[in-house]
């Protein structure tokens, strides 16, 4: 019997190759195709300044999409990210204007976002409702709260220190980009290196199996929505920093962009699958697309047309390079 020891043991593959897999390479190829086309069509596209510009313009969507990716991986969806960002932004603005120090207002706002996410998560996990319906409901609820609290008017008079925080540059890179990069790294670590990350994949991949294995399914779902809420709040704060005002309609349509970024990046809306690197690339694809079409001065209707076509073609390229996988 012990002759089996002679068998060769395949060495475990490195985790890095796992997290930048073939799928991400496909997305990258899609991005490169888009970049190549625009670079040929307009000389302004490939300048350093414009590339930074694209990153900056993609950063808010990327931030929201990071959380969305986790929720999608865990088998859910979060349509309420925009209004969550709005209530958090308004809370932060109101606090700062009331004299609460910035270093207190920021974490409080992020906590509020996470709490909004927790409500979503609990309705899904304990209420047993479908994520789509829950977050469609809270989408209205949170937006209405923001509008009612502010009477529909933006909150102005954001302290300059707060704005400076999000408008400065770090070695020439806009701080929003740096912040989102750091957050992406954190989320990547959570997903790929911690038990929670495994739980997200497990609950989204096979909830039954996860339950049997003793994974705290409800807590895992709630955690995904809380992270999504927290990241939406941060995205809201970044935007307030840039705009200098907290508008109750802030975050309109963010959910669609975030879901699109995640899906372009390879997240499966059936759950259990998704990539942080892919999502970042997805957000940049969308940002580059908008930027390039504006630089080319494409008229709005044709921009819409081009957006549709380019998304489909990029996905088909991605799909073709990956083969039947």
């Amino acid at each position: 019997m012990s002759t089996t020891d002679g068998a060769t043991l395949v060495p475990p593959r490195r985790s890095l190759s796992l997290s930048f897999g073939l799928r991400d390479a496909g997305t990258l190829l899609g991005l490169l195709a888009i970049v190549a086309v625009f670079a040929v069509l307009t000389p302004n596209f490939l300048t350093e300044r414009n590339l930074l510009n694209i990153l900056q313009q993609s950063s808010i969507n990327a931030c929201v999409a990071l959380g969305m990716t986790l929720v999608i991986i865990a088998g859910g969806i979060d349509l309420s990210v925009g209004p969550t960002a709005a209530i958090s932004a308004i809370a932060a603005a109101a606090m700062m204007i009331a004299g609460v120090p910035i270093e207190l207002a920021i974490p409080a706002a992020v906590l509020l976002g996470a709490a909004a996410g927790a409500v979503n998560g609990m309705l899904v996990a304990y209420g047993g409702l479908q994520p789509f319906i829950v977050t469609l409901g809270t989408l209205s609820l949170y937006r209405a709260s923001a509008l009612i609290y502010t009477g529909g008017n933006p909150i102005l008079g954001i302290p300059p220190q707060f704005r400076a925080l999000f408008n400065s540059t770090v070695f020439g890179v806009p701080s929003a980009v740096v912040i989102v990069a750091v957050l992406a790294l954190l989320v990547w670590v959570v997903l790929n290196k911690t038990p929670l990350g495994e739980y997200f994949l497990a609950v989204g991949g096979n909830e039954e199996a996860a339950h049997i294995a003793g994974v705290p399914v409800a807590m895992t779902k709630i955690a995904s929505y809380m992270i999504s809420g927290g990241l939406a709040a941060i995205a809201g704060l970044i935007l307030v920093g840039r705009l200098g005002a907290a508008d109750p309609t802030l975050g309109n349509l963010w959910e669609l962009d975030a879901i699109a970024a995640a899906a372009i990046g390879g997240a499966s809306l059936m759950g259990g699958k998704g990539s942080i690197v892919g999502t970042l690339l997805g957000a940049i694809i969308l940002g580059a697309l908008r930027n390039g079409l504006t630089l080319l001065n494409v008229q709005a209707f044709y921009q819409l047309l081009a957006t549709g076509i380019i998304i489909l073609v990029a996905m088909l390229i991605d799909r073709a390079t990956r083969g039947r996988g």
Binding site: M1, T4, D5, E198
Partner: protein
């Protein structure tokens, strides 16, 4: 405190699913170091009992005691804490996670108290897999593994947990005798260390080889508890099914007419240059070790996968490959190996699952003839003894064995003339097995042909008129009925070049 010395006591356990009473006041005890069999027909309630033990289900009534202490909280985590590990019948894995991640799911090893210690997990997983199947890569995503390998992972996971009690629900349903032997060794080692094991299997020879005692369930009730040394297989089976099973012998119905003519069928390294013929009324067995390419060959025949090369002729006509509908129209029907993934639509009724492949037959003027389909389904399922005989119930709510019966029914309803059975009796009880064998014979007698892939040598010997043996993707040889023996098959199946693969021992006739 623990005066009786019982390791585990299941006290008066009841469980009902809606109208179905799956368990009715079942009591069972196991002492340390004992390997205790749990026997019963499909749907008798074995899995339900074990799932209550492992915390996956809450009992409607009754409780569980470990070492004399009553478990107060339920749930998988509480069960694990109490020292209970379980091998599930329906393999429950997260496809995108690696082998090691699946093995440690729910209780990962950590470094720095925060991060998953992947390397350590992979090493521990490799260690646990070593004695069962060292070729499994702990870092590979589990979706890339085949069923048999996944089942081994499931076993290794339970064994690795250092549990006091291990519940094994049909751990060898996908395994070949060789792997069972390795498991048997492992079970002996565990028992020697004082671990209590509950062993569920429909393979009587296995039960008699590893168990000391057995509890027999019928329709959710405990009917007997036996010491296996003091009884015989026939007696046990009779207690299980409530009647004597007649032992039948092989009967052949093969004619000279060629039904299926396969030439040079190849796909990658999985199947290389498969060439063979199947005659009308013939039952062709295909044997081989795990990964020999049997499943892949059937998938090619059924049009599920597209071959790189080769030709398939049905009754002399070449058919286009790689399209299930074409294959089905030509009279082929595949009974897949992985029932849950490839076979059933869990939410749909038995009737719908049966009718899926024969919508043409069961529709008129564009409407489904529901009544006709229901009548046919009920007839087929009554013949196969579906339990409970409720054809409108979602198939997902049936026991594994009963699901299998419905999928067989699907192809019979579809009028398939060439049935491709991939492990047809996996997870099927002895009574139903006999029924399925006679069913296969009946189909042959009706002039249909069948290819039966099976890892159970007795099964192949029982049903096959002729046996193809596959080895590493190639057909290593063909054995006519008069040449058939376990030894002959094994001799062809095992790679000649290396002699370090253990030769499976001959097993008792079923």
């Amino acid at each position: 405190m623990n005066t009786s010395g019982d390791r585990l006591r299941l006290m008066d356990i009841s469980k009902s699913f809606g109208p179905i009473q799956a368990l009715d006041h079942v009591t069972m005890t196991v002492v340390p170091g004992e390997v205790h069999g749990l026997l019963g027909e499909n749907g008798a309630g074995k899995s339900t009992l074990l799932r209550i033990l492992s915390g996956a289900f809450k009992p409607s009534d009754g409780h569980v005691e470990v070492d004399g202490v009553r478990l107060t909280s339920t749930g998988p985590v509480a069960a694990r804490r109490a020292g209970i590990a379980m091998i599930h019948q329906e393999l429950q894995h997260v496809p995108e996670l690696t082998v090691a991640q699946n093995m440690f799911l729910g209780h990962p090893l950590k470094t720095g108290g925060l991060f998953v210690a992947r390397r350590a997990q992979e090493n521990a997983a490799a260690e646990a897999l070593r004695s069962l199947d060292p070729t499994i890569d702990p870092a590979a995503p589990i979706r890339t593994l085949k069923v048999a390998q996944r089942q081994i992972v499931e076993i290794a996971r339970a064994v690795m947990e250092d549990a006091k009690i291990i519940a094994m629900d049909e751990p060898t349903s996908s395994l070949t005798p060789a792997e069972f032997e390795r498991l048997a060794v492992l079970i002996h080692q565990l028992a020697a260390k004082g671990v209590s094991i509950i062993y569920v299997s429909h393979k009587m020879d296995e039960v008699f080889q590893v168990c000391q005692a057995a509890t027999i369930l019928r329709d959710g009730r405990k009917v007997d508890e036996v010491r296996l040394a003091e009884t015989t297989e026939q007696e046990v089976v009779a207690r299980m099914v409530g009647r004597e099973l007649a032992t039948a012998h092989h009967r052949g119905f093969a004619t000279d007419e060629i039904m299926l003519d396969v030439r040079g069928l190849s796909r990658g390294t999985a199947v290389q240059d498969a060439t063979f013929q199947l005659r009308k009324g013939e039952v062709l067995g295909i044997s081989g070790l795990i990964g020999a390419g049997r499943t892949e060959l059937l998938r090619l025949l059924a049009g599920v996968d597209r071959p790189d090369a080769g030709e398939i002729r049905v009754e002399g006509h070449s058919i286009p490959t790689g399209r299930p509908r074409v294959a089905i129209a030509a009279g082929l029907g595949l009974l897949p190996e992985e029932r849950k993934r490839d076979g059933i639509v869990a939410r749909r009724s038995i009737r719908s699952n049966i009718g899926l492949a024969s919508m043409k037959r069961f529709s008129r003027f564009g409407f489904v003839r529901r009544r006709a389909l229901a009548a046919e389904s009920e007839k087929l399922m009554r013949e196969m003894n579906l339990r409970p005989l409720m054809i409108e119930r979602p198939i997902g709510q049936f026991s594994g064995g009963n699901q299998q019966k419905a999928i067989i029914g699907r192809w019979i309803a579809a009028g398939a003339r060439i049935l491709l059975f991939d492990e047809p009796t996996r997870g099927i009880d002895v009574g139903a097995k006999a029924e399925i064998y006679s069913l296969i014979e009946r189909l042959a007698a009706e002039g249909r042909s069948a290819i039966v892939v099976s890892s159970e040598l007795p099964e192949i010997l029982r049903v096959a008129d002729r046996v193809l043996v596959m080895r590493e993707g190639r057909i290593a040889g063909t054995l006519e009925r008069d040449q058939l023996s376990e030894e002959a098959i094994v001799a062809l199946a095992v790679p000649q070049s290396t002699d370090d693969t253990p030769i499976p021992q001959s097993r008792r006739e079923a």
